[in-house]
């Protein structure tokens, strides 16, 4: 494919000077004239990007992935000419429109209609042009009855729909999209994906920053993985998505998810010990010892497996599986074992183990990350599970 290059980034670096004591008053300027000229008492230089180079061809759907704080958003802002690179060069051919955030410039005191015109102007549309597309915008957002209400009376979902509806009208050659999918409900996300498919069909050039590997796999032709201000790899989206997941499994870090913290609680009348994970040919086995310090009449042992995002994948307990509880005597030690098939995509998974009693109302031991395991597969799907599936038939 010999499409022309429309975005060319050459050796771009960006550093921010972070003064420990910011000089922002005139008094400082007079009291410490030299220091303030140098920009603060001690300033720390933060390298947000370091020697970034890549080219994007016309019609490409190009992903930029990386952890929080890796420099993705800075790069996007440099492409959008919001930030100036400290060194290096960026050249862009064609009209570029950034979607750094939905609803930029929306004013809560204005009506929906007024906001459409305001937001449209920021996207480069004159009043006349918006007049022509106004009805389309409103019907796409499904907000006909609300357009003369103030935006502050809209629900956040309605605001997002309106913003998205305006944003998608942009007549750009190149679109920069940053995490737009992070907001909105499933219905809205489907609309986003439809829009992406349309962009792909129209052969638009898109630069797409995301944490969502499903979307990256699904839409991006190529992607760049950025880690600690450098480009680690530029490759097809499948490879990059896998490398991205490996990045997390290597360091044991989880994706930004505050709900999955290494927590454990309960009264510990009985508790888990010696939790072991064993990977067999076609399944995973979790073994543990239950140590009872006090007797429990109706213990229920539970298990739940979640992915690195903290999304539960499945779970069950002995009550569901066997419908009966075997009493634990004080001082007793009992081995338990869970076995389940490998239905996972590549990535790291966490196992949550529980012991409940009194008709599953009291917690004896609840261990959020009792164990973890890593799956590496050659083929992943953009869905929650990836069970072995047999396909017969041609093609």
């Amino acid at each position: 494919m010999s499409e022309p290059i429309v975005i060319s980034v050459k050796e771009v670096s960006k550093h921010f000077r972070l003064p420990h004591e910011k000089v922002s008053s005139i008094k400082d300027f007079f009291v410490h004239p030299l220091q303030s000229l140098r920009g603060g008492k001690t300033s720390e230089v933060q390298h947000a990007l370091d020697g970034i180079s890549f080219d994007i061809k016309q019609g490409e759907f190009f992903g930029i992935v990386g952890r929080n704080g890796s420099g993705k958003s800075t790069l996007l802002k440099i492409l959008a000419e919001i930030y100036q690179p400290s060194s290096g060069e960026v050249s862009v051919v064609g009209k570029l429109v950034p979607f750094i955030e939905l609803g930029v410039g929306f004013n809560p005191e204005l009506t929906g209609r007024e906001n459409v015109y305001l937001s449209g102007a920021l996207n480069g549309f004159s009043d006349k042009e918006i007049d022509e597309m106004y009805d389309d915008i409103v019907s796409f957002a499904e907000l006909e009855p609300f357009m003369d209400q103030k935006l502050k009376n809209y629900s956040s979902g309605m605001q997002v729909r309106l913003a998205f509806s305006v944003a998608t009208r942009s007549k750009a050659d190149i679109l920069l999209i940053d995490e737009v999918l992070a907001v909105g409900d499933a219905d809205f996300q489907r609309k986003c994906f439809d829009y992406f498919s349309q962009l792909k069909k129209d052969k638009k050039t898109v630069v797409f920053v995301s944490h969502d590997m499903y979307a990256v796999r699904e839409y991006c032709d190529r992607a760049a993985l950025i880690d600690s201000s450098h480009i680690v790899a530029i490759d097809d989206s499948e490879t990059i998505a896998r490398k991205y997941v490996e990045l997390f499994t290597e360091t044991g870090e989880r994706l930004s998810n505050p709900t999955l913290s290494p927590e454990r609680w309960g009264d510990k009348r009985a508790r888990y010990e010696n939790v072991k994970t064993k990977m067999t040919g076609d399944g995973i086995t979790i073994k543990a010892d239950v140590i009872a310090d006090e007797s429990i009449d109706d213990p229920t042992f539970g298990i739940m497996v979640a992915n690195a995002k903290g999304q539960p994948i499945f779970g069950t307990n002995t009550n569901i599986e066997q419908g009966k509880q075997l009493p634990l005597k004080a001082g007793e030690s009992r081995g338990i074992e869970w076995e389940f098939p490998d239905i996972f995509n590549s990535g790291k998974y966490y196992v949550e183990l529980t012991i409940m009693y009194k008709s599953v109302t009291e917690v004896s031991d609840w261990w959020k990350e009792a164990a973890s395991f890593v799956i590496t597969k050659t083929k992943d799907t953009p869905f929650i599970v990836n069970p072995p599936i047999r396909y017969t038939g041609k093609g």
Partner: protein, 271 residues
């Protein structure tokens, strides 16, 4: 025509944004207040009423100046415009920080938008001044033709200062307070409430020094052109002395433009 349409194309985006920002400013100003846009007229009129009662009725200022109430009102209206533009201009860039971190559009549009909406208010207020002129029976003379140029000078000076102040405010947050104090001092060193002729009676030199301030020069010129020729202007001083306030305006505007241009690419990350 060709160059005009080219220019229009080049500044198309800026013009579209400028228009919307001015419209939005109009819609949002006085939002929720019962009298709404009437406040644009009521504020300078209220200030005028206070000054009139105190300085004309009680202190007998401007005794021998013809049409002194209109003379006073014109000064108040022009000064209020200058204050409005510079005070709003100063915080305009920092106030729109959110927009600037998300979009790349020419930064100067924000400052100009504030200045344009204040300018529309000024025009409305000038209509009120004309109304008072009719009531007071002020005769119109040919010198009124100077007025548009005088107003243009005020527009340029206030806009230039706004560019300078808004860019400085990004780095030095004290400017806010400094400017407040300077404006307060400016209200007294500018011949708004007192007739400059009173100063000239005591010291010709002092009156001339006060006229070096471009706002003083502008207010006196406006009064001369519109209300009475019996008011001192900077041209009454010796030879080319009158050129100094114009040089001040030019220097401020050029320095402001250069500084703003140099600083604007960094606004997004420094705010």
């Amino acid at each position: 025509m060709n160059t005009l349409s080219k220019l229009k194309q080049k500044y198309r985006y800026s013009l579209i944004i400028l228009k919307q920002l001015v419209i939005t400013d109009f819609k949002l100003r006085y939002k929720g207040s019962a009298l709404g846009y009437l406040w644009t007229l009521l504020r300078p009129l209220a200030l005028f009423a206070v000054l009139y009662v105190v300085f004309v009725n009680f202190l007998r200022f401007g005794g021998d100046i013809p049409h002194f109430p209109v003379y006073l009102l014109l000064g108040v209206v022009l000064w209020s415009y200058f204050v409005e533009v510079t005070v709003n201009g100063l915080t305009s860039i920092v106030g729109k920080g959110d927009l600037m971190r998300k979009l790349s559009f020419p930064r100067y549009v924000i400052v100009i938008a504030g200045s344009v909406s204040a300018f529309i208010n000024l025009l409305i207020n000038l209509l009120v001044v004309f109304g008072f002129m009719v009531i007071n029976g002020v005769p119109l003379t040919i010198t009124v033709l100077w007025l548009p140029l005088i107003i243009l000078e005020l527009f340029v000076f206030a806009l230039g200062l706004s560019f300078l102040l808004s860019a400085l405010y990004v780095r030095f947050r004290d400017i806010n307070y400094v400017w407040e104090v300077l404006l307060q001092a400016g209200f007294y060193v500018t011949p708004i409430i007192y007739p400059l002729s009173e100063v000239a009676k005591r010291s010709e030199a002092a009156a001339n020094i006060l006229l070096l301030n471009p706002v003083a020069q502008i207010i006196q010129d406006a009064r001369y052109s519109l209300i009475t020729h019996e008011t001192p202007t900077v041209y009454g001083a010796f030879s080319l002395y009158w050129i100094i306030p114009f040089i001040v305006v030019a220097v401020v505007t050029v320095v402001a433009a250069i500084y703003f241009r140099a600083m604007s690419p960094k606004f997004a990350e420094e705010i």
